[in-house]
């Protein structure tokens, strides 16, 4: 709010648009996180923020600081790179964990034996039941 | 803004104190963490709270000392954070040892409320 540097109008419009778009995308993503019924569906929501939402805002930042500071502001690229590298690590492990837990709970999810390659699993009603933490709800162990 | 900070400190502190008074070791350790958040914010709030006045000196603004946030509480909070972390670690291990040796996670090493 104290910034006294002036931007050319086109840059200002662009930055504003990017910011708004990024914000909206993130919001929509989180809305998905809230609205979806099953865990696997919810996983898709935040990716909006983590991909395009992030990119828009990073671009806005780069543009803004390139225009206001002396030199090109490229270091925001790092944020994009880092985020792209690290988000999948979490997602992969989390998805795998969820899958394991669902299997253990006897839910209708694909089993690890690969027998039902083409089967289609509906995932939208998976999580309606309420349960809590790591290791309750003893189900039959998955048959390998 | 002051009101929000104050309420935040109060909420963190209150939740922390509530947990401290609980009978289970894990509750206590969470309580310790929350209280230390509250305390850190409390120390922090003793300085000037201001947006965009980072205590990093810039040539253009070096003349006007009053423009910067108060660095001292920040340094104090840093120390407090570190010490708080260390204590959490210690308490955690002790909690585990206590659970193993006494067979219960009650803070007094025996059941009964």
């Amino acid at each position: 709010m104290t910034g006294e540097m002036m931007l050319p109008l086109w840059a200002e419009i662009l930055v504003s648009l990017l910011l708004a778009a990024g914000g909206v995308l993130t919001l929509v993503g989180c809305l998905g996180l809230w609205r979806f019924h099953s865990f696997y569906q919810r996983m898709h929501g935040p990716t909006l923020g983590a991909t395009m939402g992030m990119v828009f805002i990073v671009l806005a930042s780069m543009l803004y600081f390139t225009m206001t500071d002396e030199g090109p502001a490229l270091h925001e690229v790092l944020i994009a790179v880092f985020l792209t590298l690290t988000v999948p690590a979490t997602t992969l492990m989390l998805a795998r964990a969820a899958l394991y837990r669902h299997r253990r709970a006897g839910k209708d999810v694909p089993l690890p034996d690969g027998a039902t390659t083409a089967a289609r699993f509906r995932t939208d009603t998976l999580d309606d039941e309420h349960y809590y933490s790591v290791d309750e709800k003893k189900g039959p162990p998955p048959t390998p | 803004m002051e009101v929000i900070i104050a309420i935040a400190i109060g909420a963190l502190g209150g939740s922390g104190i509530w947990l401290l008074l609980r009978p289970r070791t894990f509750q206590v350790i969470m309580g310790i963490s929350l209280v230390s958040y509250a305390v850190n914010l409390f120390i922090f709030s003793m300085g000037k709270l201001s947006l965009d006045q980072i205590p990093i000196l810039r040539a253009s603004r070096a003349s006007e000392v009053a423009d910067y946030a108060d660095p001292l509480p920040q340094a104090l909070v840093l120390t407090a954070i570190v010490i708080g972390f260390a204590m959490t670690a210690l308490f955690l291990v002790l909690m585990l040892a206590s659970r193993g040796l006494s067979g219960t996670d009650h803070v007094d090493g025996r059941e009964g409320e």
Partner: protein, 548 residues
């Protein structure tokens, strides 16, 4: 102005332990003997330094040596200040440390890993707390000494220690949070952290802000009272002290004194006579709490049936006595309280050490054995060399029982304030100054304040209960025939106890010089102007004050 080597002596009690601890860590995990040697050497050096510092502090009528760490002037950087009070506390720490260390060499130092580094770091924390003149730095040193005390308390592990440790740590963590809140409030109102500067600025604080400062000081006080073992904040104390391994407990006997030390220093610095109405207020609170503590300690002493708990309550009585004496707010009483502090700390230390020797033939090894049984039942003991075997506790020295009995009696005498050891002189000094704070002058028809009489009575009663309880314990330990074998002692275990008791005797014989020292100390404490001026006017080293 360049500093000579001599000027750095003051910081040695902090730097040396840290250096030694670092070195010991590099030595790796085994090498207990090498570490023991290093540790003893360092502790002896500390003792020598403490003596030198005591002489330095006692050199002139009013002498405050100030050391500006990192060479920044006083209210800004962290200043260390050495006056008579700090010096005597340093000396006491060094003595207790050497005693416990020697004792631990007999076997306790092998009861777990990292005893030696933790021990040195404990000393660093204690020494730092006694030297620093900065509130936040005090917090840091408090944390060091507490952290190390956690380590030492848990040294040897076992269910008892773990449970006590859990309580001890939880309580102290809350205490530390209060400490931080208090310091933060004081900073928020006065804008400074240096104790002397706080004392100066208190006078300038606006009336509308003043109460915030006082609230800060009050919360700070709660933290210190917790550490000093004041009622109703001291319930952690007896179990923890009973659970700690004896050398650790002996060293702990000075820990509650840190709380007392800080209360003494800060209450007089911040709420001395210059503080106007709040001065009396603070003193009165301390007095009330001290009386309550004393009462609680006395009751607990009477009720406790085992030596460990009893020793814990002895600590509480000692704290209660000191607090009420401080709460009296007269320099003569303070002087006597300091005498009492030294005497009772020595005795408590000796008692904690002795206690284990007394119990040795009964419960030895029980708790250790429990831990040695490894967790999974499959592992070999973690480290064969560090687990003690019960066979080589020591050779039976002649008249071991006689020694134990005599030492026990000596401890009991000092603790209860019975003649002829230093405890009596200490208690006499306390009582006579409480009744005659302005010195012995005949004075007719001026009844003393009621609280003086209450304190007098409580002190007498606490002494009596101590006698009764210690007699009970002593009779059970020494007189009831139980068919026990003679305990086997090592000279290295016996020596520290004897030395501490001999120091008690020396203190008694040399009561006048000691009292003179304490009187000077107390006078300086009650008139902190010199302390404040000394710190605030300390000059930086180097040309023009700035660093190159």
């Amino acid at each position: 102005m360049m500093l000579s080597w001599h000027d750095h002596l003051m910081i040695v009690p902090i730097v040396l332990p840290m250096l030694v601890a670092g070195l010991m860590l590099l030595l790796g995990e085994g090498r207990a003997t090498a570490k023991a040697v290093v540790n003893v050497a360092a502790t002896v050096t500390l003792l020598a330094v403490a003596i030198a510092l005591l002489r330095q502090a006692d050199a002139g009528p009013v002498r405050v040596a100030v050391y500006l760490a990192a060479n920044w002037p006083a209210p800004f950087g962290i200043a260390l200040a050495l006056d008579r009070l700090s010096a005597i506390m340093l000396l006491l720490t060094a003595i207790m440390a050497l005693g416990s260390l020697l004792y631990s060499l007999a076997r306790w130092h092998r009861a777990g890993v990292h005893f030696h580094p933790l021990f040195q770091l404990q000393l660093m924390g204690l020494n730092g707390a006694f030297l620093t003149a900065d509130l936040f730095n005090l917090f840091v040193f408090f944390e060091i000494l507490l952290a190390a005390s956690y380590g030492l308390l848990l040294h040897g592990s076992g269910p008892q220690r773990v449970k006590a440790g859990l309580h001890y740590i939880a309580v102290n963590l809350v205490g530390s949070s209060l400490f931080l809140i208090g310091v933060a409030l004081i900073y928020g109102v006065t804008g400074t952290l240096n104790m002397a500067d706080v004392a100066v600025r208190i006078g300038q604080v606006e009336a509308s802000d003043r109460m915030l400062m006082e609230a800060g000081a009050a919360i700070l006080g709660v933290a210190f009272l917790t550490k000093a073992g004041a009622w109703p904040l001291n319930f952690w104390l007896p179990p923890s002290y009973a659970a700690a391994s004896p050398p650790a407990a002996a060293l702990f006997s000075i820990m509650t004194k840190v709380g007392v030390y800080v209360i003494l220093r800060l209450s007089l610095l911040m709420f001395g006579d210059q503080a106007g109405e709040s001065s009396g207020f603070v003193q009165q609170w301390i007095l009330y709490i001290g009386l309550a503590t004393l009462t609680f300690g006395t009751l607990g002493m009477l009720a406790s049936q085992n030596t460990g708990r009893l020793a814990g309550f002895a600590v509480i009585i000692s704290s209660g006595t000191l607090l009420s004496a401080i709460g009296f707010g007269r320099d003569s009483v303070t002087a006597a309280a300091l005498f009492y502090l030294v005497s009772s700390t020595l005795a408590l230390g000796a008692f904690f050490l002795l206690q284990e020797l007394m119990e040795r033939s009964r419960t030895f090894g029980a708790d250790l054995l429990a831990v040695t049984l490894e967790a999974f039942g499959l592992d070999r003991p973690v480290d064969a060399e560090e687990d003690m075997s019960t066979t080589d506790i020591g050779v039976a020295i002649p008249a071991a029982m006689a020694f134990l009995g005599l030492s026990f009696i000596a401890c009991a005498l000092v603790l209860s304030g019975l003649p002829p050891l230093s405890g009596f002189v200490a208690k006499f000094a306390l009582l006579t100054t409480i009744l005659n704070p302005d010195g012995l002058t005949p004075e007719i028809g001026s009844p003393e304040p009621v609280l003086a009489w209450v304190l007098l009575g409580l002190l007498v009663v606490s002494g009596l209960t101590t006698v009764v309880s210690l007699t009970r314990i002593g009779i059970r330990a020494f007189w009831v025939p139980s068919g026990r074998a003679q305990p086997r002692l090592r000279v290295i275990e016996v020596f520290p106890i004897a030395a501490m008791l001999v120091l008690g005797i020396v203190l008694m014989v040399q009561a006048q010089p000691a009292m003179r020292y304490f009187t000077d100390t107390a006078r300086a404490l009650h008139h902190p102007d010199d302390y404040v001026r000394g710190i605030m006017s300390a000059r930086q080293a180097g040309p023009g004050g700035a660093t190159p």
